[in-house]
């Protein structure tokens, strides 16, 4: 009898493992396809074969002088943009997954800590002051981190931080920064800085260059990597507070480590591409439906799915019309219906079983 149960368990485990491998294989395939297709399409027509050839040349001989316009379009305009979109999507998705674990709340997204709004304020202020390029990026990043530090100070009462005070402090800091952003919009020059701020607040990769991608990449990659290294800790943090403590977790310190990483990821992303909503909430949920709640599988699944989703969305944003469609509009328009269908299917299956 016991042997039979053991065999059944082993079989179930094998099936689960096979299923997970299949899911990861498909996700990776989706991402790689999206990535390659994205490099081959755009408003400037470059034949797909030629585009791939150029990418190959770019990889094998990166120091080559680029003289033709199609070379520059593929290697200097599209490639950094696609890479940045993939990194940003991955970072936002993994941040969302980690935060939802830490807060044990499925409605939490990276915006909740006030980082996006703080960063938005930095950006709006920079644009108002006529600051462009690197200093603007630095300013956005610093204000994103500053928002998190404010949330930290505010939520720490008698040397302890409760989950609920973090969420409330995040809300307070968020609304304060968004109020100041509104104020900046109110006094901005309607001919120049106002449309620039509005556009920037809707998110876009249109201004991507290798320089910007390389500025954002370390934060996005390191942050995501460290979150992945914390995957066991996240499993414990997502338990009940008392239970987590009994398992030897220093919940406060570990939580702030997670928050810090998220600030670095979101700060880096907002600094180069403005505010992009929805990815941090839709993708972790979709990933959870595909691979379950275990952070060991959830985090990598979120990374791949987030990267693929962002690349697809951004490709649509830059190719669908001659005008750039703001990403905030696209992520909500595409993300919300997918999310709704996924959720309904999930709960229908659950109530059926």
């Amino acid at each position: 009898m016991a042997v039979v149960v053991q065999e059944q368990d082993a079989r179930r485990l094998r099936i689960a493992l096979a299923r997970q491998t299949l899911v990861f294989g498909l996700l990776l395939l989706l991402f790689i396809t999206a990535f390659i297709v994205s490099l081959c399409v755009g408003r400037f027509s470059v034949p797909a074969g030629r585009a791939l050839e150029l990418v190959w040349i770019g990889i094998t001989d990166p120091t080559r002088e680029l003289t033709n316009i199609d070379e520059r379009i593929v290697l200097l305009v599209r490639a950094p943009r696609v890479v940045l979109a993939a990194l940003a999507g991955a970072g936002l998705a993994v941040s969302g997954a980690a935060l939802q674990g830490v807060f044990r709340n499925p409605l939490v997204s990276p915006d909740i800590l006030g980082i996006s709004q703080g960063a938005a304020f930095g950006g709006a202020l920079g644009i108002m002051l006529g600051i462009w390029g690197l200093p603007l990026i630095a300013m956005v990043f610093v204000f994103g981190l500053a928002a998190l530090i404010l949330v930290g100070l505010l939520s720490r009462i008698n040397g302890r931080t409760e989950t609920v005070t973090v969420i409330l402090s995040g809300l307070v800091i968020s609304s304060m920064f968004s109020a100041v952003v509104s104020l900046l919009q109110f006094v901005a020059d309607p001919n120049t800085s106002l449309p620039a701020i509005v556009y920037w607040l809707m998110g876009s990769f249109a201004t991507s260059t290798w320089q910007r991608t390389l500025i954002a990449a370390p934060g996005l990659i390191l942050g995501s990597l460290i979150l992945w290294m914390l995957r066991f800790r996240l499993n414990i943090l997502s338990l009940d507070e008392a239970e987590a403590r009994s398992l030897g977790a220093n919940t406060t310190r570990e939580r702030w480590l997670v928050f810090g990483m998220i600030a670095i990821i979101v700060g880096s992303q907002v600094a180069v591409s403005g505010i992009i909503g929805w990815v941090g909430i839709v993708i972790p949920h979709a990933a959870r439906l595909l691979v379950g709640h275990d952070h060991r599988a959830l985090l990598p699944a979120s990374v791949v799915l987030g990267a693929g989703f962002m690349v697809i969305i951004d490709t649509l944003a830059r190719t669908a019309t001659a005008a750039e469609i703001p990403l905030g509009v696209m992520t909500a328009l595409v993300g919300a219906p997918i999310f709704a269908v996924l959720l309904r299917n999930h709960y229908r299956e659950r109530s059926a079983s």
């Binding site: 408003r43 901005a188 020059d189 920037w200 830059r318 005008a323």
Partner: protein, 363 residues
């Protein structure tokens, strides 16, 4: 609806009162319809005008030939006036209040009332929320619409009527008309395949924006001078990317005069834009900044068209821009432009090496 009624009855009341006053004063009442088809009644020529609309501030100065009648303006207009040539011609402009409105055209009613204006110029077509505060304070508003040359001439005519100087505008409108007709006649002979594609970028530094042809003043004068709008496929003013510009591959690029830190190097130092026909042939120009920025419609528009025409169709047009500018500034502002003034307005130092720019240099 109710707001409309209230507005109507208030206007009626004002009308009745002012007609009494006019009878007493000897009937110099001024009545006209504004561009939202509202009746504007002034008991006498306006002595104190506030312009919430940005380009109208410098237009009012030009129509009056002084800053005396402009008692309030948009902060954005003020920075343009003070920092540009008008600040030099009329140094007293720096004392004109700009707290009467937020840059986004929402009036500050108390500051506005404090300037005691006879007439407030405000945008029409943007809803009643930015108009009601003015009329509710018992002030007279004149609403104008943005976009075409016809509308511009029409609202400039209204403003000069309100100022009690209807004769002044005849001169300015005739000038616009004469230049436009001259250009239409000369450009008519240019065949389609000799019309270069011209791209005007309304924003460039944070994100890049361009406009479709419909409703765009820039596209209108690009076509007037015998060019083709490179971004004709767009609808309205929208954000675009550099790849799209490469695909259009414009022969001439005009950069806006709004962004102070923008200059032609922005195109030449960009890996993709520097390969467009415009960049290769050095036909990238930043729009001049005169009494107002030359991109949108304003009192100096014919100068803007002539400058554009000489650059877009050098074989067809050869206006003597420096002479035209001197004459126009004498008429508009009663000011003798110096050679250095002209160089600064046309960015001769910054873009003197561009193709066909030698013609604009002092002889």
């Amino acid at each position: 609806m109710s707001l409309f009624h209230r507005l109507g009855s208030r206007l009626f009341l004002v009308g009745v009162l002012s007609s009494f006053a006019a009878q007493g004063a000897g009937a110099e009442e001024i009545v006209f319809k504004d561009q939202e088809n509202r009746e504007v009644r002034l008991a006498k020529a306006a002595e104190r005008i506030v312009s919430i609309v940005i380009p109208m501030a410098s237009t009012v100065i030009a129509l009056d030939g002084s800053t005396k009648k402009l008692v309030g303006m948009n902060p954005t207009a003020k920075s343009a006036v003070v920092e540009g040539i008008l600040g030099k011609i009329f140094p007293e402009a720096k004392d004109i209040p700009s707290d009467v409105t937020a840059p986004n055209f929402v009036p500050n009613v108390e500051a506005l009332t404090a300037t005691n204006p006879d007439l407030v110029i405000q945008w029409g077509g943007r809803g009643n929320d930015i108009v009601a505060p003015i009329t509710n304070a018992g002030l007279t508003a004149m609403l104008i619409l943005y976009g075409t040359e016809e509308l511009t001439r029409d609202y400039m005519t209204m403003a000069s009527k309100a100022l009690g100087k209807p004769e002044r505008i005849t001169q300015l409108v005739e000038w616009r008309d004469r230049v436009q007709k001259d250009m239409e006649a000369k450009a008519a002979s240019v065949p389609q395949d000799k019309r270069p594609s011209v791209l005007y970028l309304g924003r460039a530094l944070s994100d890049i924006s361009a406009s479709g042809t419909k409703g765009s003043y820039n596209a209108w004068y690009i076509e007037l001078v015998g060019g083709k709008n490179a971004s004709a496929e767009l609808n309205g003013t929208v954000s675009i990317n550099k790849e799209q510009i490469a695909q259009w591959d414009p022969e001439v690029i005009f950069l806006n005069a709004f962004e102070a830190k923008l200059n032609v190097d922005w195109v030449y130092s960009d890996p993709v834009l520097s390969l467009t026909k415009a960049a290769k042939n050095k036909r990238v120009y930043k729009m001049p900044l005169g009494g107002y920025r030359w991109d949108p419609p304003n009192q100096e528009s014919p100068l803007s068209w002539m400058w554009t025409a000489n650059l877009v169709q050098p074989g067809v047009f050869n206006y003597d821009i420096r002479a035209e500018m001197k004459a126009a500034y004498k008429t508009l502002y009663n000011y003798e432009l110096t050679e250095a003034d002209i160089d600064a307005i046309l960015w001769v130092k910054e873009q003197g090496s561009a193709t066909n720019y030698d013609q604009f240099k002092a002889k």
